[in-house]
Amino acid sequence: MTDLLKMTAVEARAALDDKSISAVELTDAYLAAADETQALNAYTEITHDKAREMAAASDGRLAKGEGGALEGLPIGVKDLFCTMGVETTACSNILNGFKPVYESTVTQNLWDDGAVMLGKLNCDEFAMGSANETSARGAVASPWTVDGDDQDYAPGGSSGGSAASVAAHSSIMATGTDTGGSIRQPAAFCGVVGIKPTYGRCSRRGIVAFASSLDQAGPITRDVADGALMLQSMASHDLGDSTSVADPMPNLMAGLEDGIKGMTIGIPSEYTMDGMDSQITALWEEGRKWLEDAGATCVEVSLPHTQYALPTYYIVAPAEASSNLARYDGVKYGQRVEGESLDDMYAKTRAAGFGDEVTRRILIGTYVLSAGYYDAYYLKAQKTRRLIQNDFIDAFKKVDLLLTPTTPSAAFPIGQKVTDPVTMYLNDIFTVPASLAGVPAMSVPAGLADNGLPLGLQLIAPSFHEDTLVKAGRVLEKAAGFTATASRVASRVAGQ
């Protein structure tokens, strides 16, 4: 039982092939773990029956030697992905009761490769947040605690339930989505691996839209090899998403152990901020040495518009959100609050259905797109976004990859930053630039802060170079030797 939960996805997949474990056995172990860790609030729904049915079907295919790449692996799904017949609300009250009549392309790809669905995972409402605190289903507690203190820490966000569940060994892997850091920041806070692929790699069809020019799905996993395995399956060219890219994803597992000898890694001097934790700076320096020890050359590079990425993002993302979220009007799905007129019904439905942060962002987006302000804000942001993308294009003429911290600090206690929106936004200062430029990036757990909470390092690659990204991620992972298990699950996973 406990050995089942310790296996990585790659190990479990091999064990399923050599019949030392069955998919039903593995799924039952994870369902039990999901039930036992309900206090974390990582799951919004555990789909026991569906999971067992899918696992039994996996065992049938494995017996016939027909197992897919993810056959029998029990996966959690962020509540932003439409799952047919299973309630999907983006953790917003406005979508209460919504049961999609179709499956998102990304989750369909996973099921087509044999994966088993454990249930839906908590996230910030419409993926707008950096602590999972804006969820209408309640906050998620990180499985990590500070030594000698039982206070609940934030798992990060928006994919907080996904990262918490992978760290808590209540799913073997989980889907995430990343608009400005929503995969990488929670992965860093929870000591797991998170990959945001190049914009267009994973179809957005069936993912509840937040900011369409930025939204990308990606995996959250316990190690880099699992991330490569899962991303390979998630990515596809899809005619149902006009921004889906046709170029096939390189084989990520094939060259995973090839190393980075001879590569040039850029260290961007702008990735620092006032009040940044000195432990983060030290870890960044250590990461640089690890890459050099593996045969890479590290050089200083400049991405001069980095400091403007966050304010640019807070125009572009809310603008797109205000347009995307116009569809929630009490007519087509979700909740309706009756009104005296059609307009009154819209306004009452939306007031009742949206939480504070979502309302705030819709208002900002509406404001920056409104007559008289469009040029000053939205057009200006689109221009600075071009300059930010150009920074990356110029940097990647000189280097193969960039190494940065994932976040400016370790996780913080739940409730600490919720009062000040701008302080919360600063969490994403190092993840937003890659989102604006559309380039792939990943967070790798690289060490522990003095208080015992995980810290992550971020690698950023040029568009479509996910193979280089995971190779370097693997080097960092090996050098860091991160083996710590979240305190709240260590005893459970280690043996009962």
């Binding site: 267009g200 116009a326 009490g330 309706r336 306004a347 007031a351 309302t359 929106p421």
Partner: protein, 95 residues
């Protein structure tokens, strides 16, 4: 840029979200704080910079203009708060 109560009220009306009167002033302060932080973009010289709307730079793909999906009215209205015979039902708009 300072956002006042009247502006919040106007924008909320455009966004079709009712905001209670006692929330207008706190919301104006929150939005002002965010917008004044965003003002730092004015430092950036963007003369002759082409606005970026899509990171891929690809033209949107074209396809044959033919029906590729559809004929599922019941499924489309399945999640509607109120529907009738394959139609969405909304409050009366014409008196």
């Amino acid at each position: 840029m300072s956002v006042d109560k009247t502006t919040v009220s106007r924008v909320a009306r455009l966004a079709r979200i009712n905001i209670d009167d006692d929330r207008l002033e706190p919301m104006a302060q929150e939005l002002s704080a965010i917008m004044s932080w965003i003002e730092q973009l004015n430092e950036v010289n963007t003369d002759d910079v082409e606005p970026l709307a899509s990171v891929t730079g690809h033209a949107l793909p074209m396809r044959e203009d033919v029906v590729s999906d559809g004929d599922m009215a019941e499924k489309v209205v399945q999640n509607a708060p109120e529907s009738m015979s394959g139609f969405f039902v909304v409050p009366k708009v014409v008196e």
